[in-house]
Amino acid sequence: MRKTNNIILETAIKVLLFMIVLYSVYIFTAGHYYPGGGFIGGLMTAGAIVLLLIAYDIKTVAKILPINYRILTSIGLLFAIGTSAGAIVFNVPFLTHAFGDIQLPILGELSLHTATLFDLGVYFVVVGVTMTIIQTIGEDE
């Protein structure tokens, strides 16, 4: 399939990919305090993978990232529904989040929030959905 020599693009992407992924993780984790969140974070991660797809071909990318994106979507949905429904176990209404500062052995004091888990579900779903769409359309002949 690869006929042209894309060396500049490929090298550039090898560098850029990590920056984009890092940025998307940053935007995801900072979502509760600064602009961002699961949705835009997920879109950006998907964008990084799309860049890979442009530089290489679908088969190579599938080898690098052996992920079934439809399963990723369902994992995301399970995260979201799990954090939401988990509240019922503690005898509070559906989708009540808990948060607090927790002392962890190595990391020290951390402010943790179950909303992040919910957002992680959103993140996975968005990555899964975007990639499923692009992959299926791309594979189609």
């Binding site: 935007i27 979502g31 509760h32 305090y33 600064y34 602009p35 961002g36 969140g37 699961g38 949705f39 835009i40 879109l43 950006m44 964008g47 439809r70 979507t73 369902s74 995301g76 949905l77 979201a80 529904i81 939401s84 559906f94 989708l95 989040h97 948060f99 402010s111 929030h113 909303a115 919910f118 957002d119 579900g121 959103v122 779903v125 968005v126 899964g128 959905v129 975007t130 499923t132 769409i133 299926t136 359309i137 594979e139 189609d140």
Partner: protein, 801 residues
């Protein structure tokens, strides 16, 4: 449940077991299992005679839906008992007759008796229910079971046609009746007939009284085959003869008569009731009798004759209702009409039942019912001939049979109409006896045709499929019993007057009776040289002349009837309605999405504009408008120019890029209006959707890849401008009508304290209103799976490959 309730539903219960009997006892005719029930019920209902004769009624109630006032209340009074006896008595005879009429090994007997029993139970329910909703339920069950019985030989085209016709017409009337019942409920607050009657005076001037009256009468007229709804009855003759004899002469067609009689105490005093009931009745009488002469099929003659006789009873009930205007019972001459109605009801059931059975025998033994092929059967079937001649003479009103007595009383009642001084009857009243007299002449003529064309004259063996012979004895029992009743009631009419007629009259005209009183009914053969007698003489003489000259004047029929036939009207109505609705649907459901969008948006504009104008809702308030800066203006110009140029560009590629430009400008708007999350998302989503558009563009089929500009259409332009203007107006008025403050203050205050976040948008999305987000990601997942499924799952291609 009392015994009375069990008696009403017993036929319904027995019908469950009929298929079992049919399967298990293959060698015994299923009818024998049915026969005991109507006999038993007949005897049971006879035991009520002493109750009704003493002027009492019997009420049994069973809760069904008490919260809605709908209870299965069974009430036995004179009228109900008379009908119950008719239903069970003739039912038993018909079952007996059908055992010999329907062959065990050729017919689907299980179905036949199930339908017949359903009908019997339904009919008992109609006449014995005091609750109107229950009455209506049973009423529709009679329509349905009659539909099933008419279509019994469903492989025949005409059976299906007749069944459909009767269904459409009777259900139309039934629904009208339901409307009447509901109107009565609105006026009186009760579904009980007894209570409605007791409130009759209070609702007389109610605005809904006349609509209720018309609705109830529509139900009665359609069921009882009155003009112009009689047309289903001749087509219902496709049913097996026992069915015709039971349903379409003796019982079901009298359900309408029952209804009119039952509601006479409620509506009877209204002039409209008198005019509709007696007018339609007399019109049906004369119409039916004239058209019966034209028929050549035995059952068709009988069908038109039934129509005509039902009209007679109906007109008598209408005239009888006039009796309510005269308070004094002693010299109230109009009650004779009700007596005649009740008496003729019984007589008609006896002679018409026997005539149908005789026609069935002729059909069964010769293979045809066409009177042009029949003739000279007297010597082959002497017993059938005797039965027929007694039945027809009674129908024609010749002494000494019971038809004579009821006809005399009918004339008496009609002559009395002239003496009425209400409803303009001083002048118009003369029409009643004249119509009645002419109709009776025609009745005489078709009666003579019926019996003499069939049994006398020339025997034509070459036209008959079978060699005629007398019917088996079992088939003759029922008609013989019926004609003996004809003779017995003819000679001893007062057998019935005290036991059945008087209590039935008491139910029809309860307000005329004081406590403890009863109607004194005396029917006598000889009442002197009165005008009625001369009328009967005239009927006989003119009838004989007309019968003798029938072959000369019957050609007139060929000219008139086709134009006047209501069947043609019905058929073209049915066809027209179908064609019309088809055309209508086709005219607007044209399959083009553009038209549907036009309807949707046009309706959108219309309904919103009407609301804005109607409610005077448009308002423009500029007090809380923010200042507009230069950036907003520039961006707005970008969006407007971008959007408008999409409409005018030639290339699709350009429009995709313009669309992207508009999207990016919108994200700039988000930046400007301080919505960073939205701006980020909008940017990325816009990129993805433009990419997808390009994919679509790239894959457009080569064949139709015209690069043309969008065509201009005035409708489209008007509608888009209209929708845009509407939305703008509504947005402006909504903005000017802020009724209360936003709730966003709560979020501003509590984002950090309650939810430990500083990005309010994100906190709302995942915490305050995370439920929405949960399902939005579900939407995304479904969309992606949908795309995956659409692309991967290609059943068609696999089939082709």
């Amino acid at each position: 449940m009392s015994y009375l309730h069990w008696a009403i539903v017993a036929p319904l219960f027995l019908s469950i077991f009929i298929p079992i009997f049919y399967k298990v006892f293959r060698r015994i005719h299923t009818g024998w299992f049915v026969l005991p029930l109507p006999i038993l019920l007949f005897v049971y209902f006879l035991s009520f005679l002493p109750v009704t004769m003493s002027g009492k009624t019997m009420m049994e109630s069973m809760n069904w839906i008490p919260s809605l006032g709908i209870n299965f209340t069974a009430k036995v009074d004179g009228l109900g008992l008379l009908f119950s006896l008719l239903i069970t008595g003739i039912g038993a005879l018909v079952v007996l007759y059908s055992i010999y009429y329907l062959a065990k090994d050729k017919e689907k007997l299980n179905q036949f008796y199930v339908y017949l029993l359903l009908f019997m139970g339904a009919m008992l329910g109609v006449v014995l229910s005091d609750n109107l909703i229950v009455l209506y339920a049973f009423w529709e069950l009679t329509s349905f079971s009659s539909f099933l019985l008419i279509g019994y030989w469903y492989e025949r085209e005409k059976s299906r046609y007749g069944a459909q016709k009767s269904m459409l017409i009777t259900v139309f009337g039934g629904l009208a009746m339901l409307g009447g019942i509901i109107l009565l409920y609105i006026m009186t607050g009760t579904f009980s007939v007894t209570e409605v009657i007791s409130q009759a005076n209070e609702i007389f001037n109610h605005a809904l009284f006349v609509p209720a009256l018309i609705c109830i009468l529509l139900g009665a007229f359609t069921k009882s085959a009155q003009f112009p709804f009689y047309i289903w009855l001749p087509d219902a003759m496709e049913a097996p003869t026992p069915v015709s004899s039971y349903l379409h002469s003796a019982t079901m067609v009298k359900a309408g008569i029952y209804l009119v009689a039952r509601f006479t105490p409620v509506f009877g005093e209204h002039s409209l009731w008198f005019w509709l009931v007696s007018g339609v009745g007399i019109l049906t009488l004369i119409w039916g009798s004239i058209f019966a002469v034209k028929q050549t099929d035995l059952k068709a003659i009988l069908a038109f004759s039934t129509v005509s006789q039902l009209g007679l009873i109906m007109s008598l009930l209408g005239v009888g209702a006039a009796a309510l205007h005269y308070e004094f019972l002693d010299d109230n001459i109009f009650t004779v009409a009700v007596t005649a109605a009740v008496f003729h009801l019984i007589n008609h059931a006896t002679f018409k039942g026997s005539l149908f059975m005789a026609a069935g025998i002729v059909d069964h033994e010769t293979g045809t019912r066409d009177i042009r092929k029949l003739g000279g059967l007297m010597h082959f079937m002497p017993i059938t001939f005797t039965i027929s001649i007694i039945g027809t003479f009674s129908m024609a009103g010749i002494p000494p049979f019971n038809g004579f007595l009821s006809k005399e009383m009918f004339f008496t009642a009609m002559v009395h109409v002239i003496e009425m001084d209400i409803f303009n009857l001083e002048t118009l009243g003369i029409l009643f006896p004249v119509f009645a007299w002419i109709a009776s002449i025609f009745t005489f003529v078709y009666s003579m045709i019926l019996v003499f064309r069939t049994f006398t004259g020339k025997y034509q063996p070459e036209k008959l499929d079978k060699k005629p012979h007398e019917a088996p004895i079992g088939m003759l029992i029922s008609p013989v019993i019926l004609v003996s009743l004809v003779i017995i009631f003819g000679f001893f009419p007062n057998l019935l007057s005290h036991s059945l007629i008087s209590p039935a009259m008491a139910s029809i005209l309860p307000s005329l009776l004081g406590p403890g009183e009863e109607f004194m009914v005396h029917i006598s053969f000889w009442h002197g040289f009165t005008i009625e007698l001369f009328m009967t003489l005239g009927v006989v003489i003119l009838g004989i002349i007309l019968y003798k000259t029938h072959s000369k004047w019957k050609k007139i029929y060929q000219a008139i009837p086709d134009k006047l036939a209501l069947n043609r009207f019905y058929d073209s109505l049915l066809e027209g309605v179908q064609l019309g609705s088809h055309k209508l649907t086709k005219s607007y459901m044209n399959g083009s999405i553009r038209s549907y969008l036009v309807y949707i948006f046009a309706f959108f504009i219309f309904i919103l504009a009407a609301t804005l104008i109607g409610k005077n809702a448009f308002k423009l308030d500029t007090s809380n408008v923010s200042a507009i800066g230069v950036y907003e203006v520039v961006l707005a110009i970008f969006v407007v120019v971008g959007s408008i140029s999409i409409l005018f560009v030639k290339s699709r590629m350009t429009s995709i890029i313009l669309l992207g430009a508009v999207g990016y400008t919108v994200s700039l708007f988000y930046v400007l209006f301080r919505a960073p999350d939205l701006a980020l998302t909008q940017l990325v989503i816009e990129t993805i959707s433009v990419a997808l558009f390009l994919v679509c563009f790239y894959h457009l089929p080569k064949l139709r890849k015209f690069e043309t500009r969008m065509r201009f259409r005035l409708t489209n332009a008007l509608i888009s401008v209209g929708v845009g203007a509407m939305v703008t107006l509504i947005a402006l008025s909504a903005h000017s009508n802020k009724l209360f403050d936003s709730i966003s203050k709560y979020y501003v205050e509590n984002t950090y304290t309650e939810a430990a976040g500083k990005n309010m948008v994100n906190v709302i999305l995942v915490d305050f209103r995370g439920f929405d987000t949960l399902f939005e990601i579900t939407v995304l997942a479904i969309a992606s799976l949908g795309i995956f499924g659409m692309i991967k799952l290609r059943l068609n291609r696999r089939k082709e490959g």
